[in-house]
């Protein structure tokens, strides 16, 4: 069993990893099953070691599209624990439906916790009425994750969901029956190779807040700085993995501050000072300002991430590309992967395949932005 470490103590809670990441999006908004991404992840099996696998899928709950879908993991058999979470949720939300997340008991996984999902609408009271729905949900998710021991909300967006755990990705997919149960227009996945901290169900990727998800290959050496900065904005890292900071940073910068990914990429992976020196005055001023204002959110260390939210999937590496990335496209399908072979395994005849320079994002957007609403409908 994993004991909670206080979020403010000084313990090092990050890890080093060499993982596999994969993302696929149909930019027409068409929803497809999990078969493709499961096959792609199997192709990269040697990049992980069976101690963590996970998926994020967008467009899976059209029947509850207006409700936040909270996926909750109970690390403890104690029935009082679930009751405590239930009471908290019923007190703070209008829960329209809740059920155990269907799982396959035959799947090759060990000691899975209990997984439950709640479809909820905020019930704001008093001071909380000032908050937007999204901010209210973030606040309540943070409360459960930091104050209720052994219960973790690991997915909290509308019409999307994260499924993750300890095992190879195909085993986790089998456990949650992703191949047959769900259809989405964006799928991202991760296979983990943890070395510094234990492989546990909550520590698997993707990391999620609202509908923002991140899968990550690398190690964030700026974790401490990033984490402390995010705490000032009410984000608390509780999952013992450095990747968590990217999910919260993306929520802060893109959702709350409304910055486009093109700018956020330059906050996470800014140009070197000598490159900034060679820019024309306007650009130099912009990049200098960006580096000064957002210095605590510079992500240092090697990384390849795939970030997703409704309507958009983004692949990004650190500025000197210390982790691999390959992008490919075929018609409306966009792929981002640790290895080209994994893309070819599921789509042999690509129209185009390329590797962006370090710090330059690969961006997939729905062809028709209005489709976002359609898909959500």
């Amino acid at each position: 069993m994993i004991n909670r470490v206080s979020v403010t103590d000084g313990r090092v809670t990050k890890e080093i990893q060499a993982c596999a990441v994969f993302g696929v999006m149909d930019r027409s908004g068409r929803r497809f099953d999990g078969k493709m991404i499961i096959e792609a992840m199997k192709n990269m099996r040697v990049r992980g070691n069976g101690l963590g696998g996970g998926f994020a899928v967008y467009g899976i709950y059209p029947e509850y599209k207006d409700y936040y879908a909270l996926h909750v993991m109970f690390q403890d058999d104690d029935p009082d624990l679930k009751q405590e979470v239930d009471e908290f949720l019923y007190r703070n939300f209008d829960v329209v439906h809740d059920e155990e997340i269907p799982t396959n008991e035959e799947a090759n996984v060990v000691d899975p916790p209990l997984f439950w999902r709640y479809f909820v609408m905020p019930q704001k009271k008093g001071e909380d009425k000032k908050l937007s729905d999204d901010d209210y949900v973030v606040k309540k998710v943070m409360y459960i994750n930091t104050c209720i021991d052994n219960a973790y909300v690991f997915s909290s967006g509308k019409n999307m969901g994260v499924f993750k755990g300890v095992g190879f990705p195909e085993e986790i997919a089998d456990f949650f029956m992703l191949e047959s149960e769900y259809k989405g227009y964006i799928w991202t996945a991760h296979s983990r190779f943890p070395t510094n901290t234990p492989g546990w169900w909550g520590g698997a990727h993707p990391f999620c807040i609202l509908d923002w998800t991140v899968v990550h290959n690398g190690e964030i050496s700026s974790y401490g700085t990033n984490r402390r900065y995010l705490e000032m904005y009410g984000y608390y890292c509780t999952l013992y993995t450095d990747t968590e900071v990217i999910a919260y940073a993306v929520d802060l910068l893109m959702r709350k501050q409304g910055l486009p990914i093109e700018v956020v990429a330059k906050i996470f992976a800014p140009p070197m000072w000598d490159q900034i020196d060679r820019m024309d005055e306007k650009k130099r001023k912009f990049y200098t300002t960006l580096r000064m204002v957002y210095a605590p959110l510079l992500i240092n260390g090697p990384f390849t991430v795939i970030i997703a939210h409704h309507g958009e999937m983004i692949g990004l590496t650190d500025r000197i590309r210390l982790r691999p990335i390959t992008a490919g496209e075929k018609g409306d399908m966009l792929f981002v992967s640790s290895e080209e072979a994994a893309i070819r395994a599921v789509c042999p005849d690509l129209d185009r395949v390329w590797t962006p320079h370090g710090g330059e994002p690969v961006i997939g957007r729905l062809n028709d932005v209005k489709r976002v609403e359609k898909v959500v409908e």
Binding site: M1, D274, T326, T355
Partner: protein, 282 residues
């Protein structure tokens, strides 16, 4: 209820015995064909080694998809095998290779020719990061672009001088910590090279760059010197081979050596054999 951690080895746990996979091999004279569909890294390399032991001098691999280390466990001094690959070979293609020839009809991934000792690798497409890492002999030809840190710590010793020819362009840190060997970057499909930090930490060998490149793109440890007659001869010979390998296979049939040689070349050599000698003192 402590968590049971099952440590599994993703390289070895799914490996089948030779007799369970031998049907993937088809011998015709001295040519062996292997269908790599569904084979793990080790299984494919086991079969390749078996084929060489059984006398194959040509091996054709079909449906390769991500299998790593192809050409690695083939230390047979004096023997030269040709391996043709259809599909996408995985990382560390030709790693530690000693004297064989690999042709890839497609793209390659990271680490092509890692610490390769002798032989030749020809890629009819692009390659990923750290191509020719620590390479110490033989030749590599990549038709298109390469990724980051190409030729990192490539080295030479006496008659063993590794050669890397890239038809497209490179990303950053080309020739980082390079200690020997020859790198030729042709830039056939780009107006200007984008790579920065070229030759950072370089302390041996030579890099030739065809086409437009600015001084700020070079690391502090390299200097530009004049192309001599001998350099032009060497580059021309490599361009001839490049065109021989790739004409009609993604490179214009009509492209002539003179047309390639007509562009400006920049020659980079290290300024010092010990660029960090003053930093790491004791």
């Amino acid at each position: 209820m402590g968590m049971v951690v099952r440590l599994r080895d993703p390289f070895m746990d799914w490996v089948r015995r030779i007799d369970e996979i031998i049907n993937a091999v088809n011998f015709e004279g001295n040519t062996a064909k292997i269908d790599a569909t569904g084979l793990t890294h080790k299984e494919l390399n086991d079969l390749i080694r078996l084929c060489v032991e059984k006398g194959a001098d040509k091996i054709i691999l079909k449906n390769v998809c991500g299998q790593r280390y192809i050409g690695t466990r083939l230390y047979f001094p004096g023997k030269r095998v040709e391996i043709e690959i259809y599909g996408t070979p995985g990382n560390d293609l030709g790693m530690f290779m000693n004297g064989h020839r690999i042709v890839v009809h497609g793209n390659a991934q990271d680490g092509v020719g890692n610490t390769m000792n002798e032989g030749e690798i020809v890629v009819e497409g692009r390659a990923g990061d750290v191509v020719a890492m620590s390479m110490r002999g033989g030749r590599i030809f990549i038709r298109d672009d390469v990724g980051y840190r190409t030729a990192i710590h490539m080295k030479e010793y006496r008659e063993k001088v590794p050669v890397l020819v890239i038809g497209g362009s490179s990303q950053d840190f080309l020739g980082e910590y390079m200690a020997g060997g020859v790198v030729l970057l042709l830039g056939l499909n780009s107006k200007k090279h984008r790579a920065n930090y070229i030759g950072t930490g370089m302390h041996g060998g030579v890099i030739y760059i065809r086409g437009k490149v600015e001084p700020y793109q070079f690391g502090k440890e390299v200097g530009i010197v004049e192309m001599e007659e001998e350099d032009y001869r060497r580059v021309e010979g490599l361009v001839e081979d490049y065109l021989k390998f790739f004409r009609g296979k993604g490179v214009d049939e009509k492209l002539e050596v003179d047309e390639v040689m007509g562009e400006k070349f920049t020659k980079l050599v290290p300024v010092s054999k010990r660029p960090y000698g003053r930093i790491y003192t004791y």
